[in-house]
Symmetry: C2
Subunit: 231 residues, 2 copies
DNA sequence: GTCTATAAACAGATAGAC
DNA sequence: GTCTATCTGTTTATAGAC
């Protein structure tokens, strides 16, 4: 009997059954291939081979290729939520009290986003997958939007309000946060163009740092401008 | 005998031969389908049907599906160059003399980019196509990079230098321009998420105007910050 | 649960009539 | 140049042995 539906990613690394290992390997291999060559570009045979699993196991565990897509979406949601929880544990969990503290926290959040979305190899698979799902909204997109996108955006908006005084649910705040996130994601998506134009061989820590310092500077002056508008 | 390779888009609308019409219809249909469902997701049969053409005509005119991909890339390059030429004809062709004029021109360029990339239906096909080509650099990407991406980016960098005094070929300038372009492109790519989060039904002129006003304001303060750094 | 074999549909490319 | 028919390989899904 095929398994229900949802499964958290990093729960049982050691004591997992062989079936769970197979299942997880398939999801990870699928994410990698979906991210690089796209859903249609990846065949179930390639995925099974990359996961060192059998072709039939996809049908068994996920019902078919479409079920695998949903499992990948759930995997991404779990992954990002783990990441968010770890980030929350590292920095002050409660909303910062002063605008200055909020501004500093926004900078940190922005830098972390660059670190993950641009530098992390995982993001090279996740970001293209998510954005492809977005262009033709499927059930997979619904889950990612509700599980990752909206919470992240809302969190940014909340800190933005603390920093600028602009209400978190105002159109202006939401748009400002979109421009913030858009910058970051773009450096992942247009990576090839960036590399060539910058004359870089790779976007490593040094390059990310150069990018992030400019972005955080822009963020700082943008906050100042928004803040002065309301004083 | 199959045709050479390159063909400009809007050259001969009236006096074009039937063959040219077929060829153009195929390219346009292919762009639409490649943009929406991806290269692998679009079958040659679908493309031919959408173009009201025959399946065999793809092989005849382009040698195969891969040739059609290149033709689409060339079509995009021609389209964007036409657009750039028209924009250049409308505004002062020569570099602006004062920093203030340069700043104003940057704002106009940014607004035009929002108008095209976010509001234009054509961009809904072009942007996803280009970004997909970018993730696995093919010959199609080479042509688009050289024909569209680099010229556009260089032009922005040149005006940026006029506005801020920061050298056009400096890393900082290039990165700043990337953040500028990235914002714009993101609103196209993440359109579904933006719509839902904003509670919008569509991103029309009013919404684009709201977005652009925030982006240009951010641009203005960013320029001011860069400029003061150098004084 | 895992694996193999196979079915049924579909892909892109091609040959040849018109 | 256009169009039809067909070839060849590949796709996903499935049935059934182990």
């Amino acid at each position: 009997m095929p398994r229900p539906a949802t499964k958290r990613p990093g729960d049982d690394d050691s004591a997992s059954s062989s079936a769970e290992q197979t299942r997880k390997a398939l999801v990870i291999a699928a994410l990698r291939l979906f991210g690089t060559v796209g859903y249609d570009g990846a065949s179930t045979r390639e995925i099974a081979a990359a996961a060192n699993a059998n072709l039939g196991s996809i049908a068994y565990h996920f019902g078919g290729k479409e079920g695998l897509r949903l499992a990948v979406a759930d995997y991404i949601v779990g992954l990002m939520q783990d990441l968010a929880a770890r980030a929350a544990a590292a920095s002050p969990p409660l909303p910062p009290a002063t605008p200055e503290a909020a501004e500093a926290q926004l900078s940190i959040m922005l830098e972390r986003m660059f670190g993950f979305f641009v530098a992390s190899p995982q993001a090279a698979e996740i970001v293209p997958f998510v954005l492809r799902e977005m262009s033709a909204p499927t059930d997979a997109f619904e889950r990612i939007y509700a599980g990752v996108f909206e919470p992240l955006h809302k969190r940014f908006c909340g800190v933005w309000e603390m920093a600028t005084g602009e209400p978190a649910d105002s159109a202006g705040t939401k748009i400002s946060v979109f421009t913030l996130i858009g910058q970051v994601v773009y450096f992942r998506l247009a990576r090839q163009a960036v590399l060539r134009r910058m004359g870089w061989k790779d976007i490593g820590p040094a390059e990310v740092s150069a990018i992030a310092s400019i972005a955080t500077r822009n963020l700082r002056v943008a906050i100042a401008a928004h803040r002065s508008d309301r004083s």
